[in-house]
Amino acid sequence: MDILEGIKEAVTDAFGDEIDLTKITPEANLKEDLGFNSIGMLAMAVSLEEKFGFAFTNDDLSAITNVQDVIDLVKSRI
């Protein structure tokens, strides 16, 4: 699965149709541009874990600020 597509699916799992998927670009900041909160981050992380088969840690989530960080993390784990 294409990682960016997987992230878009995970964002849809986490936020329903509240987030415009066209805004999900590698540069997009999760909090400032996409409006992520901590529970949304958790929901997205759990969905990504299910899709790509690895487990996030607190350090992973703390280090993520934009979509590119998520892509890099997923790439490094799969």
């Binding site: 849809t12 799992d13 986490a14 936020f15 329903g16 509240e18 909160n37 901590s38 529970i39 949304g40 981050m41 958790l42 929901a43 992380a45 759990v46 969905s47 299910e50 487990a55 996030f56 840690t57 607190n58 989530l61 703390s62």
Partner: protein, 220 residues
Amino acid sequence: MFGDKKYSVNMFFYDISHGIVLLGGNIPLPKKYTVNKEPFRNKIKEEGMIIVGNHVSFKDPWFYSAVFSNRRMFFLASELVMKDPIRDFLCRHSGCIKIDRNIADINAIRVATKTLKHKRCLAIFPEGTLHKKETEDLTEIKTGVIFLASQTGVPIIPAYSLKPKHWYNRRTIVVGEPFRISDYTKRKFLSVPEMDEIARALIEKINECKNVFDEITGGK
């Protein structure tokens, strides 16, 4: 607990500490009612469950432990409660799972999920802090409780209680009917808007307990 030393619990210490706090804190033998004003007895014995209630005292966790005395109780506790090593040790071995409210604490969520999947009870005070205005209805809760229930499929037990007027009075609690996420949706992955909507329904259930509590005690 579950192979992670950071979250390990010494069950001998757990039982001793709960006994000491229950007796020393004068909180055994709570008056327990259902929302039908009948005596409450916990019938869920073979399943994990999440107990959610308002938070009015630091003794609440042990009080809930006394209410559900036929189950061992674990708690989600803020990082502030367990900020130094001594408190961390005492709280952890009393069944507290530390959660950092400033981050998306996936480690704590994972331990809480495992606790529930091992058919244990978890008490959460979803207001996230001590409730200052005791007589007001709950209006907002953190949706992590809905997230946990949806991931594990366990029922949520709403409850409401206030501190008794005098320290020597028995404390009263009203316990609601089990609240199941599956009654609202069959999906395991809930979106944030869905969790918000289900959280509002849970707040109504807790406030229903509060109304019965007020009728029984006169709001005291």
